[in-house]
Symmetry: C2
Amino acid sequence: MTDPAWISELTFTDQGLIPAIAQDAQSKRILMFAWMNKESIVETVESGQAVYWSRSRQALWRKGEISGHHQLVEEIRLDCDGDVITLLISQIGGIACHTGRESCFFRVLKNGEWTATDSVLKSPEEIYSNE
Amino acid sequence: MTDPAWISELTFTDQGLIPAIAQDAQSKRILMFAWMNKESIVETVESGQAVYWSRSRQALWRKGEISGHHQLVEEIRLDCDGDVITLLISQIGGIACHTGRESCFFRVLKNGEWTATDSVLKSPEEIYSNE
């Protein structure tokens, strides 16, 4: 399969990865940060759903595959250096974080302490059960 | 100097870095992505202005030092894994990108092409002249 032309403008790390930041299309809240490789970004563009690269599993990570919390991609942006992308997404289920919260960025630095601002909307046990 | 206690909850890469995403406090637009090391994040918190780590120069990068485009930090968040931070900032001069644009993410993927959506507000020559 030939790479699409737009891929040539991306700069990947030595490991073949590029950082991707997912932002809620409505609220503009930053929901998560993950990595993509060439294959995952091509599949993201073609399918319209976010596909990342799991560094721990060394495998494509089709967001929502188990949890059902898919991310519908409305817009993809590239930065000036071509080495970071952003996704404007619609988050199915309203939960992006594996802890069951809306956003992975649920801790704010306040008086020298990381303080949680979000509650768990659904327990991880419930999210990742396959029953 | 002793590290502040909140630092212990951060996970740095093997190079001692952590990704930082700067987002406009008003519009919530993502303005830039850069890296921080321990020293730069401590200085960011203490000074209230964004300080990154320049990987190309291998030096602290006090944003705005030359350009005057400082970033006043209103909020710092940490993700679930403790290995990415976000900054809500007020961007002095309205220009975060070294190309003279509001945001580094000025290209959107449209019909298979990266299309610029932002114009240059101030030329880099003008921004980075020291006269």
